[in-house]
Symmetry: D2
Subunit: 342 residues, 4 copies
């Protein structure tokens, strides 16, 4: 079987990462790529690194062509646009949406943080694509809401501990750091190498980053009660990589906490609970998540540290992991490369 | 008046930064530089960027020469070595010690985190060189213990709020990020550009970094009661720059918190409380500290963000600021440059 | 005496560098700054690193105000615009033009590489601002054409050797590398940190970069005959720094070549002929040029290597050096800082 | 068929790159890894990015074990050591030597630039592993001398043009730039991120880099006459990537030159002659070489630009390409990934 794949918005960083990963996937091939801006061009004219390897013509969105040519569609469109286009093809193809449109289950919350939802009827069936947590639901899903990058790096270490009741549900503090590719391929002084290079900064401090409601929703589901967090994102002057440092309160010892995580992820091919401390380079370009937990000897606080590649496990790699599940393939199919080192 | 300056251990990063800053100081000149490793060489052979600008011969430590030629000595030696050499000259010259040897007031705490103290008799007179807090004491000091880089970035935003009683004394969480120059000029795989470049990592997670007791000592003095913190340092793949994100609990509004900081630092030339969010590049190569505070609208938490250059305000610039005070000069003398941009 | 300085186009990288350098200049102060885009804002709103240090209001171009308030004006406007505005104030103030408008002496050449010249009547009096070569002319000039960054790095090592007749006038090959700030503060995928970071590339290969006619004009003047060069610029993934590797043919020994350079620059405070090999970090943020020459033992070729900071000696620092000369100050006044290290 | 692979010196950068590439090779598996320094440890303790993916125990060199367990051995040992160990196994296994030991065919030249050769009897059968040029010889080789990184980037664009007689054989000037991983994993101030980051420099200027005799040997073979070049290497502050700018003299037009290159590489899967200008990021982590040629409209010079990843096509990828040929596999087997972008 070869899965026929369509990509909406193929020329941004998550689209490009999908193309890169699909190129090395043994069971899927790209049959449709849309781009409003570069409609009619070869994708390798826009993403030059694909020259000689991938060369499909970029088209305008075309529901009929998609129905005819695709088994599954990945939407890399911005929120708002994404749900509109998905609504026009979801009856015919499976969809993994990399935007935020189907991540928030409460319409009022979505409206508060994003905008009015235009396809609320699809929301009930959307499955949150955190494969390590919702593996079975994803297997049977028609519409998967691929998690955000920050949520992925935060939820993976926290959910098992909350489910096990090993950490308190209050006063969870999340300090996250992301490479600049998370800001996308659009132009801004913030991504100019002379302004963001050799610098480090926080942004959206306080309760202002849109990934907060997504994280809180999923933590609350895991805990069985409402959870609110503190969250501060930062910008690292590198392209790829995300590290979250998470402060929790726990009565249990470090061994118990680590054991809980190891048990939870024992059969997950991409999540590894390590004894040392992870660095973002350890996961660069891969679908891995490395994590650890350290207990403060003299307080009730424990510190969780997790790393992912924001474009792979934090976006396109995770989307492919979901596709694998949706089509009955091995979860890790085409995703087992080791990081580029050095 | 020209102040005659000696530097012990002049060829590491803090020594080199002292030489750079003294070169542009109108009231001080270097008259003695020691280096065990490069004894006999011209400093510009070891620090090539000084060629054509500064060219003093590196000598072995020589107490007699120092007494004869220096008004003040900066020690950039490692802890342990620093106190031994300082004890041999402190009767004749003023000293600013950039090591940790005279920062910790409790001998037992020093012993636990560092080693046995060899000059405990000097400890009572040592003044902690955080100029914005101990300005008057520094003016009259013979021996100044220059603060560590992490402590500087953490204490400056926290001390005014603790003194004013505006934040709770428990559950202060400090998430700090430092450029690699903080690790010094020694060789290690961790500072190899191929290993630390394009990566981000946490280190010494849990209660293990030696700056913790220093931070807690000074917070406790400000609060009038024992304070314990959580502290996680991280490595940013840049040379210079330090950002601390600090989570506190406060009943007061953002305006009140910010007003408290603005009042406290109203007459301090280097500390600025800003309305936006600071980036490390805004202070690169300068003695500045920029900070802000953001209150979470829906919780009792507030987030403090501060940035310094770890080698300037976090080390050598702050040491010169202390020297200025010790010799009756304007605090900012020779330290008013703007950052290199871009 | 305090020189009153105006800056046209103050918010780009060369304008910002002028402001930074003027802040530490003891004999000059900024009295006028224009910006079409940010007209009416404080300069520190646009260039945040200036906050607390420089805070002048940006104005629209105003010839009357400039006449009233300025002794000298630096134009950081793009070519074309620059000459138009300069023509309206040159009768009242001295001008250093950082654009290319008055660098090319031959109107036909200017037209071929740039556009029609709108102020040809000013061209005869314009002095090429390479201070080490045209020091006396600059002292008496009303209008100085500040050299381009690539030309500065190429002309300084070549002119003495050509004047001395020590190298052949044919087959000079120039391979230059520049930090990204040379591309300016404008937005483009080429300056996006994710696209230009961790990469290296050549651009404008072949006879296509506009600095070629400028370099050839000045080499020809030095040689007394027409000189044509090969020139390839490259982009280094750093903010600041420029290195030129220049291949020449020489019968003379290395010592003779180096001696010629040392003699020529013996009294120039910013140019240093070194025995090792220069790195761009050795000049970062300074007005220095370091250079060396290595003779191939088994061929007639010699290799020259020069480094400058493209924004300082390659632009704004050199412009201030010219201002110093135009106003009878010491050439190095306000420009003697050492580089930020590390 | 699965090829059993041994690696000598597996923990440096070229060894690590071999392990990474072999992990994704469908027809080869690692059965032996030597490391003197880390003998007895798991490879993933030394190269942490391999954890969870590759976990072989590092052994001391063991000729008997190699004979028993390996079909082919890659030597990543330093020159000198490499030939000694290879001599002890070459009768039993095929060898690809990544050191310089078997690249130089003239013993006197090897002695002049390296040291006394200890296995001259093997030299006649060693095949220079530039697959695009010596494909047939490599297919039948027992011992392949894998080309150096600089030579690969220089020879690929030059050899076709020399063979075709389209460029002159004199005055070839090569200006090359390499990422820091080319300096290896050893510790030195030159690879300290604070010293090599945000900087650019030339090194071994003049006739001093050991890749010069290797390049000249192969150019001379292609031209049928002795060729001498000028060569200057530079250090780019990135991990991976190499760009060579090569100045040649040609009577032919750009189209003819480019056509020659396109014809020569028409059937080579990794070399692509492009119309734009290549950047090192276009080949990062891949076995590709991109190149172009631009003719100066007004002189007889043409400029060649080539890019490779110094660790892949410049070392370990090329070695695997040779292995593929030596074992009758498709040349590109396991080497067709696209670069990590961004």
């Amino acid at each position: 079987m070869t899965i026929s794949v369509g990509i909406l918005g193929a020329t941004g960083y998550t689209g490009a990462e999908l193309v890169r990963l699909l190129h090395q996937h043994p069971g899927a091939g790209i049959t449709f790529c849309s781009s409003r801006q570069y409609n009619g061009k070869h994708i390798s004219e826009v993403l030059e690194f694909l020259k000689g390897s991938v060369d499909i013509v970029l088209e305008d969105f075309d529901a009929a062509a998609i129905r005819r040519r695709c088994d599954v569609v990945f939407s890399c469109l911005p929120h708002g646009a994404s749900m509109e286009f998905i609504a026009r093809i979801i009856d015919a193809v499976k969809v993994v949406d990399l935007s935020a449109d189907f991540r928030i289950r409460d319409l009022a919350v979505y409206r508060e943080w994003y905008q009015e939802h235009t396809s609320p009827e699809l929301l009930p069936e959307a499955v949150y694509g955190l494969a390590e947590v919702y593996r079975d639901e994803i297997r049977n899903a028609r519409l998967v809401a691929n998690p955000g990058c920050y949520p992925t790096s935060v939820l993976l270490p926290l959910i098992p501990l909350l489910k096990a009741g090993l950490i308190e549900k209050t006063d969870i503090i999340v300090d996250s750091k992301s490479g600049v590719s998370g800001a996308g391929r659009g132009l801004s002084l913030k991504t100019h190498i002379c302004e963001s290079g050799e610098s480090f900064s926080a942004y959206k401090v306080g309760r202002s980053h849109r990934h907060i409601p997504e994280i809180e929703q999923e933590l609350s589901r895991a805990a069985g009660t409402d959870i609110a967090i503190e969250f501060t994102p930062h910008l690292i002057p590198i392209s790829r990589g995300m590290l979250s440092t998470i402060y929790v309160t726990a009565a249990a010892d470090e061994d118990v906490l680590k054991g809980c995580l190891k048990d939870f992820y024992g059969k997950s091919p991409f999540v590894r609970v390590i004894d040392g401390l992870p660095a973002t380079k350890d996961v660069r370009g891969t679908n891995r998540c490395l994590m650890t937990v350290v207990k403060n000897r003299s307080s009730r606080r424990a510190t969780l540290v997790s790393v992912i590649d924001n474009l792979t496990k934090g976006a396109s790699g995770q989307a492919l992991q979901c596709m694998n599940l949706m089509f009955g393939l091995d979860e890790a199919c085409g995703l087992d490369s080791v990081p580029l080192f050095p």
